[in-house]
């Protein structure tokens, strides 16, 4: 297994290796495992930029030379960005997303564009137009989704870190399946400018790494106000790496957990890891409180109504007129219909239709309006939980990774597997999945910690401490 960023950086500074060598090793690894299908494209300039990083090795910035994979729904100037869709298979953006310009400015090396579910719609990585991503440890299993390639690449040691996007669990769920950290910050802590929208009010760029320090380093480098994103928080960039509070007293820590009847569909193996973790934390002195998030039966419907409604509108721009796939070369309604029918895959079309339906006149009140009300209930519910507890501990997924093809024919079952992750997006709070154990087969299992809105730094610090107790 390759080193963490901090280790590699140390080695570069002490002259043991160079960033050039590290990039070459990563690329070698990727090419040797191309059947995993984690990357859709490798950045031609990566080696060149690593050579430039080596030249300034005596004065490195906090993430200088970090090898990072970018989910293919984040706009990279001059580098093809497809959303893993036929619709954008040849699309080359004319601008960099805010996160990309910040990474570049601090010397990060963009290794390539990671595979994903088409337009981030999926929980298994199987809806990509360019083929599914394989599980990095257990071939034939799914790595989770929608940030499938980002999670697999980090777990397989193809890079130090990866960016993904999390609309309803798309960072945390694949992180759990692949056995790595997957962090979804509070809504607005990282600019969405250049993140190709799925559901604007839920989307948030997230970070994958094999260690929490790397997550913090990347978070500190890309978070902070952005004049190009009106929904971005006015808070300054985070300072979670250098400004760590290590004096954690487990006896003063209160952790909320869901009541038994709200732990829906939890499989035996996840349950075991969940219980063991609670036991170890109790032993360390943590207090646990059973607190329920209201309307748990409404989480999935609320999420799918809001997400598909916004998606149906966000994806309207792919009409074949200005860019993207075009079928029937005569500008008209027919051209738009033909282009969209051909360019979008089945799952994307299903969600656009759902979203169009819930917004249509006569149904708006019954679905969209109701979902908005439920959202407010969930937001307030979380507020009262975090009045009584520092953190909330939840499973990330109801089950361990499943086999490819197992759920792809049953969309409803697939949607239900998002049960434990969607509420954080609905409430906009920070949440992280950390590797918590394995099942008997050796498949990774992750658990999730959540904190109150904008307490991202605290969440990262506590996760580091808690994870150190378990592993």
């Amino acid at each position: 297994m390759t080193n963490s960023y901090s280790k590699d950086r140390e080695n570069v500074i002490s002259g043991i290796t160079t960033f050039d060598t590290i990039v070459q090793q990563h690329i070698g690894n990727i090419n040797a495992n191309s059947s995993m299908n984690a990357f859709l494209l490798l950045n031609d300039n990566a080696i060149q930029s690593s050579k430039e990083t080596d030249k300034r090795a005596c004065s490195l910035s906090s993430i200088d030379g970090i090898n990072i994979a970018i989910k293919d729904n984040i706009s990279t100037k001059g580098i093809r960005t497809t959303c893993a869709s036929k619709m954008l298979q040849d699309f080359i953006p004319v601008y960099d997303a805010t996160v990309i310009s910040r990474l570049k400015q601090k010397g990060a090396i963009i290794l390539g564009k990671a595979n994903m579910d088409e337009f981030a719609m999926g929980s298994s990585g199987e809806t990509s137009y360019f083929g599914a991503t394989d599980h990095p440890l257990f071939s034939g299993y799914v790595p989770g989704g929608s940030s499938s390639g980002s999670a697999a690449a980090v777990a397989a040691g193809f890079c130090h870190a990866a960016l993904g996007s999390d609309t309803g669990g798309s960072v945390r769920q694949p992180a759990a399946f692949c056995g790595v950290y997957g962090f979804k910050p509070s809504y607005g802590r990282i600019s969405r400018y250049g993140l190709i929208a799925f559901a604007s009010s839920l989307d948030q760029i997230g970070i994958f790494a094999r260690d929490i320090d790397t997550v913090s380093l990347v978070f500190d480098s890309i978070s902070g106000e952005d004049e190009y994103d009106s929904t971005c928080s006015r808070l300054s960039p985070s300072d979670s790496f250098s400004n760590v509070d290590n004096s954690i007293d487990y006896h003063s820590l209160t952790i909320a957990i869901l009541p038994e009847n709200e732990l829906l569909g939890l499989s035996q193996d996840v349950r075991k890891v969940y219980d063991t973790t609670i036991q170890s934390l109790k032993k360390a002195g943590c207090t646990f409180k059973e607190l329920s998030i209201p309307a748990s039966s409404a989480w999935i419907p609320t999420y799918y109504i809001l997400a598909t409604a916004e998606a149906s509108s966000n994806l309207a721009r792919y009409d074949g007129v200005r860019y993207g796939a075009r079928v029937n070369n005569d500008i008209s309604q027919d051209m738009t219909t033909a282009s969209r029918s051909d360019g979008f895959g089945k799952e994307v079309q299903r969600r656009i239709m759902l979203g169009t339906y819930v917004l249509s006149s006569g149904y708006y009140e019954a679905y969209y309006k109701k979902a908005q009300k439920a959202r407010r209930v969930i937001v307030n519910g979380y507020k009262s939980i975090f009045d009584q507890a520092d953190l909330m501990l939840l499973p990330t997924t109801p089950t361990a990774p499943f086999k490819r093809g197992e759920k792809s024919s049953n969309p409803l079952e697939m949607y239900l597997s998002d049960y434990f992750t969607v509420s954080a997006n609905i409430a906009g709070i920070p949440a992280i999945s950390f590797p918590a154990g394995y099942n008997d087969q050796g498949l990774p299992i992750g658990l999730q910690l959540q904190a109150t809105f904008n307490q991202d730094e605290k969440l990262l610090h506590l996760t580091k401490q808690i994870a150190s107790l378990i592993v």
């Binding site: 959303c83 400018y193 916004e310 309207a316 309604q333 006149s361």
Partner: protein
């Protein structure tokens, strides 16, 4: 037939779209200059590129507030954006960012003047902020082409109450809205070029009945004449349809200038379901007390108030004040000129007004320019001409000559009159000499005049004027001739 029409009352409401004169577009940094070469003011945001996000334009909001205050609207301190979803090649994002529930301005009114001079209030339901779509060019053989310079241009939509009851009221409302927009300096108000657009909702009902009839909507009325004509046509069509036992269908119509009639564009069944929902990419529009205060300070005197003031304060006819205030810059020119007169009285104000309404307006309309563009016509110059005339230093004939000269050169009238020695001669002795030499050798005509042929007076006057090169004071010439010929 006319009796039948009298039994009905038309009910009309207008929706006006005004394109605002901001520096940049509504949600991106592109220059708001849509008439430039196609697709030169575009960026990822207004082209709807994947991942691009809108950012609100403060100037857009401030202009909407200004219009709201000018039309006595209430201003909402917190309002939100919505998306209006539909597919069209020139709509780059597949939705328009607009306001749906709770627009920024609501419940206002404007005043229009009726023929009898009374003032009628037309209610304003709402004014909201939105963006424009691009422009499709279909009339080119090869293909449909789209110009996105207009995509994302800032608009306000002004929706009236159904308070108008004739085509001429609708026309007056439209004129007065354009006048207000121009006074505020936020829209150039050009219907032909589309910076101002008008849709009309029309229904008719039997007089005395409260319930509304079924309405039709006429889209895209692109001139003031067409607004009036189309509404008139539609009212007649509704009444005739009802009188012949038919019913009005709720449809969207279009004015066809070639046939001078309305035709159906789409039926209610074909109407779009716009699937409005709150725009998740933008925050609330927050109007602070400071913003309201600043807008109030910027609010200029409005057309109707200015018309009433000019007529009252300067003693000019109300009708003339109306013409002056049609264009704020003309009204300003009038006031500036009056301010520079050496004697400030109503007689001279009236003279200034006459000069503007006759000579100056003629030049402006010939050259198709505004008073601000007429660089040789200065308020100081006009004040000098009026003073010279009123002080009897030049005759009206000379005054016109001086005017046509300074329009060419931009010279000062005072200097020109002095240098060309055009000053009127009012010295009694000199004029007496002119009269004497004019009457010299006219014994026969003098005889005839005295015998009663009084129209010979004109002949004598013109002879004196000729001798004086037109400079003799005509009043004095007249007096002296009368004395001499008694």
């Amino acid at each position: 037939m006319s009796d039948i029409f009298d039994q009905y009352e038309p009910v009309i409401g207008l929706e006006i779209h005004a394109q605002l004169l901001t520096q940049t577009k509504a949600f991106c940094g592109c220059k708001a200059a849509m008439s430039d070469f196609p697709n030169t003011h575009v960026c990822p945001i207004c082209l709807g590129h994947p991942g691009a996000l809108p950012v609100m334009n403060k100037q857009h909001v401030n202009m909407a507030i200004l219009m709201g205050l000018a039309t006595h609207c209430s201003i909402r301190t917190r309002s939100a954006f919505s998306r209006k979803n539909y597919f069209y090649p020139d709509l780059s994002k597949g939705y328009q960012i607009t306001q749906f529930e709770d627009p920024i301005c609501y419940a206002g009114s404007v005043e229009i003047e009726q023929e009898d001079g009374s003032v009628k209030h037309i209610g304003i339901t709402r004014i909201h902020i939105e963006e424009d779509a691009g422009k499709s060019l279909h009339d080119i053989d090869i293909d449909t082409l789209v110009d996105y310079n207009r995509a994302g241009m800032p608009l306000i939509e002004i929706v009236s109450e159904p308070d108008m009851h004739s085509a001429s009221e609708a026309y007056k409302y439209m004129v007065s809205m354009r006048q207000i927009l121009r006074y505020l300096g936020i829209c150039d108000g050009n219907l032909e070029e589309g910076s101002l657009r008008c849709d009309a909702n029309i229904s008719v009902r039997k007089k005395g009945i409260k319930a509304f009839g079924i309405r039709t909507e006429i889209k895209n009325l692109n001139s003031f004449r067409n607004v009036e004509k189309a509404i008139k046509f539609e009212i007649v069509r509704h009444i005739e349809l009802l009188e012949s036992g038919g019913t009005v269908k709720q449809v969207t119509m279009q004015w066809d200038a070639s046939t001078q009639s309305t035709k159906e564009l789409r039926s209610k069944e074909q109407a779009h379901d716009y699937r409005y929902f709150p725009e998740p990419d933008l925050g609330y529009i927050l109007v602070t007390q400071d913003m309201l205060h600043d807008a109030t300070m910027l609010l200029p005197e409005l057309p109707l108030a200015m018309k009433q003031r000019l007529s009252h304060d300067y003693g000019i006819p109300y009708y003339d004040a109306g013409i002056l205030t049609e264009d704020k810059s003309l009204a300003n020119f009038f006031e500036k000129t009056c301010l520079q007169l050496s004697v400030k009285d109503k007689e001279r104000y009236k003279l200034v007004c006459n000069w503007i309404l006759t000579e100056i307006l003629k030049i402006l309309s010939d050259k198709k320019i505004s008073i601000n563009e007429a660089i040789t016509i200065s308020s100081k110059g006009i004040a000098e001409i009026v003073d010279l005339f009123a002080d009897e230093k030049i005759s009206s004939k000379i005054a016109k000559e001086v005017f046509s000269h300074i329009v060419q050169t931009g010279e000062s009238p005072l200097q020109y009159v002095e240098s060309k020695n055009l000053q009127q001669i009012s010295d009694e002795h000199i004029i007496a000499e002119f009269v004497n030499s004019a009457l010299n050798g006219e014994a026969e005509n003098i005889e005839k005049y005295r015998a009663g042929k009084s129209n010979l007076m004109g002949y004598f006057i013109s002879k004196v004027m000729k001798i004086s090169n037109g400079k003799a004071n005509p009043r004095m010439v007249n007096d002296l001739l009368n004395q001499q010929l008694m």
